[in-house]
Symmetry: C2
């Protein structure tokens, strides 16, 4: 509890309910670069004074606050905005003060209107305020104010002339331009993280470089992986993401299909990191050299692709850390290191770090240096494996420190865990997060989930990335799926979320054989080389390219929070709109969840939110199915028919 | 942003979303004494560890935290509660740690079930944990743990015996009783203000002592006012509240009906405080001496009444402060003091304090000392006039300081101002607040307002007090009202809100003459003596007594937040339930807003929330209208008929 000395007595303005704010200001709000940032707040004072309120912001590290006036919305609510000039971390706050000059001026005008006999005393009060304003002004302003102060203060002058000066808008505006802020109050400053565009709009293609030799007897290399770029780029992706590229352990190496004992020829799991070759800052030698990898990054750039790598903070028993830093692991009384387990299951090939170690500072610094290492090589996007099994506060420090120097670096959290943990990871700094998209099946489940992500506070800090498949997840729908299933799920991911990814070529080749009884791939590429038939007839490459092209050319699909669901009288259909704030780009998506039978239904479009008059005609053109005609619609009720043998969805552009 | 040194690295538990919390913990939550305080929070950590979570609390000033375990509700949510032992200010927080012993024990049991070959290593790990627990235990516990540690650590002993010991529940419970909390984390502590019962349940009767002489030629005294106590008490009130009792200014004294010039005989407004007789710590001499006032307080107590006085922080030009502390007022260039104004309106009899004075600390201290003075005399309830025209931070300091010594003192904020300012006053410390009750007219307006007060965060800090009339407000309904109007509005106040007040005897005598064109009384008692006919035929005293008796004997009506509205198919009827948490007291109120014509309607009672089976018969008995029969009901749909010539409302007791 504060003592009297800690109060700022005469500063009478109080500020609260600042929106947006994450965790009461403990964590930054996230926004894309170039976007106007809107802030509202409740600002009150005692009495009847008019208040002057400004929104202030500065980049972290800067001294000077930039201020812009906030608008009084009535009912003690104020709103303001600014456009952050570049990516990085900002703080913002609201500052207010009683606008004593304006209060005086309003009273003065009323009194002069009513012919108050003491108007000369009012002029004297005003003159004193102008004298004070002179001290706060400079140059021409100061000169002008000084002249006015002399006129008002000159008792030999004509009163009418003085009243007329003090009533003028020039006078009012110039004095207000130099307000008395000596009794201002500010709220605690809040934080804003401005992320580059790719944080909000990215299309990921995950594949294993080692399977790119197209020959099961040969371990693929970075050079082989580079040969896929033209195709991946043609399909419209802009991020290529590789599983860990570090040396793979030999001790307890897993065999094919995750079997306990590996054959001599087995390549092991890339997530079993570390061997005598090195650890998290080394490359698996069979993939190539550091020069090869740097070359790959450059080649990717030429194809409009960014390279994302996987960072998995765990070690094999033969990882150099185990000998170099024994205190970073838990040791058992029998002298062995504690491996990962979920009793009675054991993962002898994986040693977790012991984050409760007394040597935690050295551990944290070393782990951060892993990111620093790859950033120096040229990697700007990291997919982080299982971040929810490392302390939240570690991530908070690590990501904050990295982004101080490199605000352009992005982190995708691979956290398939409970919601509060997923969201905490986003709050402490992860740019994007994996989601429950894969386990949503029915239209109402998708709608409920998207509303949680985009219509609650979650939208201020969590940026979802939707994955129809991953090397770990082969959804039951896909196991039994046809073309419509695959493309339906792809279109859902691609149009609901502005960030999406697939694990290819398994996805576009419609790979669907499950490990018996599981939602996982059989003969999983995690444990063996593959010889993909990249151009297998019936592949989905053209369809995927079409969807990605629509995303790449329609900015409304490059954001997630703008989704708006549309009522439809058939529960098998899910319909939603995406539009830009200026309404120049308006997309209507309708997905038929019946992958086998045609379905039709009546939509109720929210015309007023689209800016379409109730009797105005408009056209919708299907961007996905070129064989579909354009429809001329009028009014909110419009009929939709979707035959999955042709297409599982419409992606309509609305033409006004 | 925190540096590495500021992190508690190995403490991996994070806590947020603690509920309830007001303004993120900036202000205290309020609760009545004797009530269980429930707290929930999100508590998470990385990995798969089980967490131990406790709710801790202490009175402000105490060193030692009292802890009670929180229950894991699943999905990372925890809940706990405690009963604060007495009134006053508390802090509470949540503390959690990874329960390493329990994690080990769960794994150990599973491994021993599956016949793990390394179970002796597990026993060794457990033995080390018990050795550590010995250090945290005392007495018999320590002795027992030490013995077990020796058994487990003795490698010559039979393994089966050791496994069986380590699996026993005695072993598990005793080791867990002494947990390793070295890596615990706590959230920021939050605040709780426990108020005495009268903060939540009070029935106020406001009257002017000076009108109690029953003779217009005589100024009433405290002694005269005391003669009304028996009657006020018989009507079931428990607080008597007097307008300011201080000396009334002579300069610019207002005449009858707020006229600018007072006649020599005019008594002036009690809110125009200060004269050569004294100021806020003095008594208006015509009311009596300090001894008389102390006697009045004692007499009130004998009648089960508490005395509330009005504190209005404003001064007449002849208030001693003006000469003693000229810096506490604003001075104009012509040497006059700035009076209150709302141009072109002027209030020359009232000088506001200048809270922007450099001498604010002395001003704050002096104003606080006014409360201290009257608390010493024996006053424990203050109605504060226009608190929203004094700084919020002043109140925060003043009330906090007073309640440190006197947590039993209550403050009612007379703030008829915009909602955010009203709510801020409640947050900074005002116990109760006046409301917009008086300006709500239709059933749906009452329901919406009560839902704002009782179903949003407002319920955690704002305790409403409903006033059907005040010396300042004669609602239009009452101006044209009949018996049903007065009693309908009284019953609404009395059963919706557990705190209510009336300005008497104007209310019970159905005084209804407005000042022309205003919602105010004509010949207002604020400016003149009255000679009330206290027993005027047709008065409402018996009806009011009956309603207050129902309130005094039914604890469900002694709380506000438990209101629950009931659907009714006639929009002229408003129906709502009040029940105690144990459902022992269940009240159903139905008000007919048609003060002139009978209305009937079908109610849909939420039977499951009342704990009534759908085919169970139950009886409702009207506690207000004794002539009304009891009804035997079954099922949720039940018909109600109300004739305003008999009664404007039913107040049913539900008998199961």
């Amino acid at each position: 509890m504060k003592s009297l000395e800690q109060f700022s007595g005469p500063a009478r303005v109080v500020i609260d309910h600042v929106y947006p704010a994450v965790g009461g200001g403990q964590f930054p709000v996230k926004r894309p670069e170039g976007e106007t940032f809107h802030v509202t707040a409740h600002v009150i004072a005692d009495g009847h004074d008019h208040l002057d309120v400004v929104l202030e912001h500065r980049k972290i590290g800067n001294k000077r606050w930039e201020a812009s006036p906030m608008r009084d919305l009535g009912n003690d609510e104020f709103s303001g905005q600014f456009i952050p000039p570049e990516i990085g971390r900002y703080e913002y706050r609201i500052t207010g003060w009683a606008d004593l000059f304006r209060n005086w001026h309003i009273g003065f005008v009323k009194k002069s209107d009513s012919g108050d006999s003491k108007i000369s005393v009012e002029i004297d009060i005003g003159a004193e305020m102008v004298i004070q304003a002179v001290k706060r002004a400079k140059g021409a302003d100061a000169k002008q104010l000084k002249q006015w102060a002399e006129i008002l203060g000159d008792h030999s002058r004509d009163l009418t002339q003085k009243v007329s000066l003090a009533r003028s808008s020039e006078f009012f505006d110039l004095v207000r331009k130099h307000p008395d802020r000596s009794l201002q109050s500010s709220c605690e400053s809040l934080q804003l993280m401005v992320e580059r565009e790719a944080a909000y709009f990215s299309t990921w293609y995950e594949y294993f470089p080692r399977s790119c030799a197209n020959d099961l007897s040969k371990h693929g290399t970075f050079k082989d992986a580079t040969t896929r770029f033209a195709e991946v780029s043609r399909m419209g992706f802009n991020v290529v993401y590789f599983p860990p590229i570090h040396p793979i352990g030999l001790e307890f190496r897993k065999g094919k299909n995750n079997t306990l004992v590996a054959a001599g020829s087995d390549v092991g799991s890339p997530w079993a990191i570390g061997s005598s070759e090195g650890g998290h800052k080394s490359l698996h030698s069979e993939l190539g050299t550091m020069e090869d990898f740097k070359q790959l990054i450059l080649e990717a750039e030429l194809h409009g692709l960014e390279v994302a790598i996987d960072i998995a903070f765990q070690c094999t028993p033969d990882h150099p850390y185990v000998k170099e830093h024994p205190t970073w692991f838990k040791w058992r009384p029998d002298g062995s290191v504690q491996y990962a387990e979920n009793p009675p299951k054991k993962y002898q090939d994986i040693l977790p770090f012991d984050f409760e170690t007394k040597d935690w500072k050295a551990l944290w610094k070393e782990l951060k240096s892993v990111f620093d290492f790859w950033i120096d090589i040229g990697v700007k996007i990291f997919r982080v494996d299982n971040p929810h099994t490392k302390p939240m506060e570690f991530w908070r420090w690590c990501i904050m420190e990295i982004k101080k120097e490199h605000p352009e670096v992005l982190f995708l959290a691979e956290a398939f865990t409970r919601p509060k943990r997923k969201y905490r990871l986003a709050k402490v700094g992860f740019t994007q997060g994996y989601t429950y998209f894969t386990w949503r099946n029915h239209p109402e489940e998708f709608q409920a989930y998207l509303e949680e992500l985009t219509k609650t506070d979650v939208k201020e800090f969590f940026i979802p990335n939707f994955w129809p498949n991953t090397p770990d997840i082969l959804h039951e729908d896909l196991q039994n799926g046809n073309r419509a299933t695959f493309m339906g799920r792809y279109i859902l991911a691609a149009t609901l979320s502005s960030n999406l990814g697939i694990y290819g070529p398994a996805f576009e080749l419609m790979e669907s054989e499950p490990f018996p009884g599981k939602e996982e791939y059989n003969h999983n590429e995690k444990y063996e080389l593959k010889n993909w038939d990249w151009n297998k007839p019936g592949n989905l490459k053209n369809e995927i390219a079409r969807v990605n092209h629509i995303r790449n050319t329609h900015s409304s699909l490059q954001r997630t929070n703008n989704v708006q669901f549309v009522e439809c009288d058939n529960g098998k259909l899910l319909a939603y709109l995406k539009q830009t704030p200026d309404r120049r780009d308006q997309i209507l998506v309708v997905v038929n969840f019946d992958w086998y039978k045609p379905q039709g239904g009546e939509l109720s479009l929210p015309l007023s939110e689209l800016g379409i008059g109730h009797d105005k005609a408009f056209t919708v053109t299907d961007l996905y199915d070129a064989s579909s005609p354009s429809y001329n619609w009028r009014g909110s009720s419009n009929y939709i028919h979707l035959d999955p043998r042709k297409a599982p969805a419409h992606i309509f552009r609305i033409n006004l």
